[in-house]
Amino acid sequence: MAASLQSRLWDHGSVRFGVAVLAFMVIVAVLAPWLGTVDPAAMDANHINKAAGMAGDFALPDGQVLAHTFWLGTDNFGRDIYSRVLYGSRISLVVGIATAVLALGLGGVCGMLAGYFRSVDMLLMRFMDGLMAIPAVLLAIALVAALGANVVTVVIAIAIPEVPRVTRLVRSLVLTLREEPYVEAARALATPTPVILWRHILPNAMAPLLVQGTFVAASAVLTEAILSFLGLGLPPDVPTWGNIMAEGRVQFSQQPGNVLFPALFLVPTVLAINLLGDGLRDVLDPKFAKRVG
C-alpha cells in the first residue's frame, strides 16, 4: 500500500468528477438565496410563460417589485424557473442524503442482526423477501398516501424499499466476516457480542456499505423526481425538479425549457453520485484494486 487512501481516491477520475459536480450542487443549494433568485413560490400574472433570458419587473406577493432577469423563463403560473430549479436542488440533495443514511442505518442494523444471529436470520430475511416483492414505487406511493406528503415521509417512503437490498448486502458481508480469525479471536477474548459487531465487524464492512450508500442516494434523487412528477411526492407549490418537470410537461411543445432545465440539473447530479460510487468501489474493493505482490 504505497499511496494513502485519500490520494488514491483523488487519483481516480470518476471520484474527482463526482466530487466536483456534487460540490457544485451543494454550493448552489446552500447559496440559492444569494444567486439572483426570487421567492420560488411567488407568482406574477404579468410574467406567464416568459422565454428564457427575458427581463422584467417581478412583483412579489408582499407587493415589492424587483427588476429581474428570467434566465430560464417562467412557467404558466408566472413563477421564475431559475429560482425554482436552484431551490429544487435543496430538496433533491436532502432527500438523496437522508434516504441513503436512513436506508444504510436500518439495513445495516437488520443485516448485522441477520448475519450474526442465526435465530433472527430466518424471520428477518423472510420479512425482507416480502418487502422486496412489492414494487418500490408502489410501496412509496402507498406510504406517502398513508402518511401525508412532506419531506420526512418522502424520505421514509423512498428508503423503506431500499432497506432489504442493504440488509442482504450487509448480511452476506457479516456471514463471511464472522468466520474471520480475528472475530473468532475476539470471541475467545470474551469480547461481548455487541462490541464484536461494532468494533470488529462493522468497520470491515464499511467500504462496500459506503459504495451501496452512493447508489441508494442516486436512486433516491431519481425516485423523488419520479414521485413528484407523478404528483405523488411533495405538494406542487414546493419547488422540486420533479414538480417543475410535471408542470412543464403539459406545455412541453411550447416551453420545452420547463422540462429540460431541471433535467439539466437532475442528470448530472445522479450521474455524479453514481460515478463517485463506482470510483469508491474501484479504490476500496480489494477485488478491483491492483495489488503488487
Partner: protein, 523 residues
Amino acid sequence: MTQPVLHVDRLKVALPNGADRPMAVQDISLQLRAGETLCVVGESGSGKSVLATTLMGLLDKELTVAGGVVQLQGESLLDASQARLRALRGRAMGMVFQEPMTALNPVMRCGEQIDELLRTHTDWPSSQRRSAVLDMLALVRLPDPERMWQSYPHQLSGGQRQRIVIAMAMVMKPALLICDEPTTALDVTTQKDILQLIQTLQQDTGSAVLFITHDMGVVADIADQVLVMHRGVAVELGSRDQVLHSPQAPYTRELLAAVPSMTPPPARSLSDTPALLRALAVGKTYNTNRALHDASLVLRAGETVGVVGESGSGKSTFARCLLRLIDPSGGEIFWGEDEIATLSEAQLRPLRHRVQVVFQDPNRSLNPRMTVGESLVEGARNFGMSAFAAQALAEQLLQQVQLPTQAMGRYPRQFSGGQRQRIAIARALACRPQVLVADEAVSALDVSVQAQILQLLRQVQQQYGVGLLFITHDLRVAAQLCDSVIVMHQGQIVERGPTADVYAQPQHAYTRSLMASAPGVSV
C-alpha cells in the same frame, strides 16, 4: 555435450519504483538439460516465482525484464512475440501451479480442458485427441480415465485435480516443465505421490523440470541441481548433495539449519500437575457428517501436546470445540475444574481468559481496522483491567515478543507475517491464559521465521507455564516442539503417545504412512 533445454544468463527483472529493492531477480544464470531437475529454493519474496513467470512470458505488468538472456532449446524467449510465446506454452513448456482448483476451469469437464490444448497445438481428429487424452489420464495414474474425462474439477480431490493439471502440462510432452510449488497445497501423503508422478513422467518423456519450492525436504527428494535464491540473488547453485550436505553460502546454511529435524529431542521431565485442559469423548457432527468422533486429551501446565493430521482429519474441529468457538455435539470439556462443553456464551465469558488461541493466517488473525495497541488491550480490558494497566501490560508483552513499543499505534498491515504472528501471541498472553491453543500457527511462515516463532512459544511456555496445544500438519515441527502427540485421521484419534515413541515406532498403519511420506526423511 548436448544443448541445454533452458539457458538463462544474467537475467534481471526490475521491480516498480517504491518497492523494497530495485530488482526482483538479479543476475540469475542457470542451465538445465533434458531429463534434469533443477529446484529453485527460497523464502517468500526471494524472487523465485518471478523467475518462473518470466520464463513463461507471463510476467506481471508492473515488472519489466531489465536484461539478460533466456533461451528455450536455443530460441530466445525474451524477444519472442506474444503469439510465439502462446505457441510455445503448452507445446514446449508445461506449467503446474500451486493451487489446482484455481488452475482449472470450474465449469469445464477435465477431459475437455486437456483436449483444448491438443486442439490448439495439433490438427489431430477428435477421435485421436480423445484417445490421447485418455492415455494421458491413465499415465498420470488417475483411476477410471473415462469417468475422469467426464468429471468437473470440484468432483475430484486435491491430489486428483493436481494430476489433471499435470496431465495438461505434459500432454504435449514439453521439453521443459515448470512447477511452481505444485505440492504446497496438498497433504504430505498426496505430495509424495505427486512428486513420484512428476519424476516418473520426467523419465518417460525426458523433459527438463524446473521445480520451485520453499521446502528443503522436497529438494532432497527430487532435485539434481539446486539454486538457492535470497532477495532476488542466486546465493548458491550446485548439485543436490553439494548444496544440502556441504553448503557454501551462509544463507543456505541458515536455511538448512532452520528446517526442523524429524528426530524428536530427548523428552523433558514434566511434573505431574493437575490438568488445565481435559476433553472426554468429544464429538462434533455436521448434519450427518461426523467431523470429530470420541476425541479425548489431557493437557497439563508446562506441557506441549501436538495434534497431527492431514486436512479433513478433524484436528481443527477438535481445537475449535476445545476453545468453544463451536459447540461440540457430545462429550465433556474441562477448563481447569469447570466443565464448559454446554455452557452458554454468557456463562463462558468469565472463564474465557483461561484458554487462548493463535491462528494460522497472519493476514487475517488481526483486525485490519484496529491498531496493534487496540487489539492487545482488548482482552485485558474485557477481564476488568483498567485502561492504564492494560496499556502497560500490552507494552510489556510487545517487548517480550521482541517488537518495539511504537508498534502500539500502527496497523497490522505495516508488519510482516512473522511480526503479526508475534502480535497475535502477545494478544493471547494479555489475558494471562493457562492454555494456549496454536492452530497451525507457524504453517504460513517461512522456515527461518517459523523457527523464531517456535522459539518464542517455547520461551512463553517456560516463563508462564502455560499448557500448549499445538495443532499442525507438519511432522517436523511437531517432532521438535511437542512432549506428546496425538495423530488424527478422518475425525478420529488413531494414535497417541510420547513424541519420541510415536516417531520411533509408529503403531498405527496411518501413522506409519504419514511418517514415510514426510519429504526428505533423510535430511
